[in-house]
Subunit: 315 residues, 2 copies
Amino acid sequence: MGISQLPPQPVIYIIEPFGGSVRRQNANLPHIFWDDAAVTRGDGVFETVLVRGGRPANLDAHFKRFARSARLLDLPEPKKEQWIDATREAINDFIHDRGISQGKELPDAKCTWTYTRGRQSTGVPTAWLTLRDIDAEVIDQRKRGVKVMTAPRGYSITQDVSEAGKSSESAPWMAVGAKTLNYAANMAALRWAKQHDFDDVIYIDPKTSQVLEGATSTVIVVKKGERLRTPTAGGQVLQGTTQKAIFDYATEKGWRCKMRDVYLDDLLKAESVWLVSSVRMAVRMTRIDDEKMPAPSNEAEIRALINAAMDAKLS
Amino acid sequence: MGISQLPPQPVIYIIEPFGGSVRRQNANLPHIFWDDAAVTRGDGVFETVLVRGGRPANLDAHFKRFARSARLLDLPEPKKEQWIDATREAINDFIHDRGISQGKELPDAKCTWTYTRGRQSTGVPTAWLTLRDIDAEVIDQRKRGVKVMTAPRGYSITQDVSEAGKSSESAPWMAVGAKTLNYAANMAALRWAKQHDFDDVIYIDPKTSQVLEGATSTVIVVKKGERLRTPTAGGQVLQGTTQKAIFDYATEKGWRCKMRDVYLDDLLKAESVWLVSSVRMAVRMTRIDDEKMPAPSNEAEIRALINAAMDAKLS
């Protein structure tokens, strides 16, 4: 592959964690040391933000969850202005690097914030963001949807151990609800799915068939009569920023949106079922295990609703 | 701090994953890219090997577990000769860098092998090893022992979901038994313990008080009559390489060693209880929650046994 065919490089900004400078990092050079806790322990948090038409989407919700994740891991509070300024600087560079002139259509891009406990030898957190093009597969899935496999998560969070007469404070350090870098199990599930001709995985409780979440996304169920449902967040279900943006917008438009216990059967009987996440946005499930999920008559309307919900959150 | 007071730098070797070259990496320069799966997903495996008197300890057992972890994560099989050659090269450099002349006593050192899925943009695994001095705290704990807090793990592995009538193959991608980089929960438990005047954590099942393992170590119970016990490995308990080396050696010396279900009560009634791991080797529990664990009369004998077990595994 000639140098001209290489995909364009991401824009990377290093963020001094204590409110200091923000500086551009050459994407051809590594910047993470061997003793960074992200590398040795997966000890850090992240957020992924959609950038659409040069504007970050759902920024407040992402920063709020980012700060919450950091708190749950005992990391120093990230500085909001700093992360947002760095995001905007990266967007400017991205537009400039790609030679996109003012007014021209900018393709969707993906901004990832990462914040780690840092190097063992310095004790200073490491923080950076990357801004890059969206994978072709993601763009493709937005159009054609995904075939999903249901699967048990393989582990369950047992923070509430009240059956043993102890309080739910017994494992108070468990960073439940933190979006950490510990995704090896999810990645393993996705590899397994792809080896078996699926595109994605949704976790269910194998005993009750209760639906939890996708491997990297939130489940939204569309029911007759303009109703949306999503599995109740908390415990094993991460609160979805994209799901919340969609619910907020749809509620304004007169839809009835509820967080509920959702079961596999609810998915199979729904008008349509979607996996939502910040960058892929919304992909419709075209198959769940062996069940084909035909396109609903209101597919275009749902897509328009979701697009409008994200557009309403651009800043 | 003047440059002369900086701790000596580790020796780092980068390993070409497909059996190619091994090269020294300058420890003052980062070598891990922003899109390495180790950083973005904790998607990789590791082993830590004690180096004593310039000789790696328990090399075969470590390599075996390393290769097994890699297999469980669908990583290409690591090449044994390559990792062992790199380890020996690093040891030579380490001795040379520190100006330790032949025949002089070399302090214990810590060699960590890391093997990740690599950069998303290249698809080639990343592999390296580091060799460095052992933390002063670890040396100190070997002498004075540790105060441990018992705690629920906060999650349980539910690979066996036979209660739902499904086979235990329902989550076959779960890398149970793999030593992955996903240690954020363990690190959180250790931080919590340290905030509460403990040195370490052992995980127990909150319902049954069954003992699982330490946050980064294996539990060994010493009982009257030269008997050793350790919790049965598998599921939530990683097979310990150091525990196995000790059991092999002690069995040869006439001790009766068994893997068993172990309960909190067994710890409290034991002659002594130890946390064993490759680099810290063996530290005696001097307190478990609120219970003081007085030194047994045979403490020196147990230490000698463990030391001899490790010495027998030097190569």
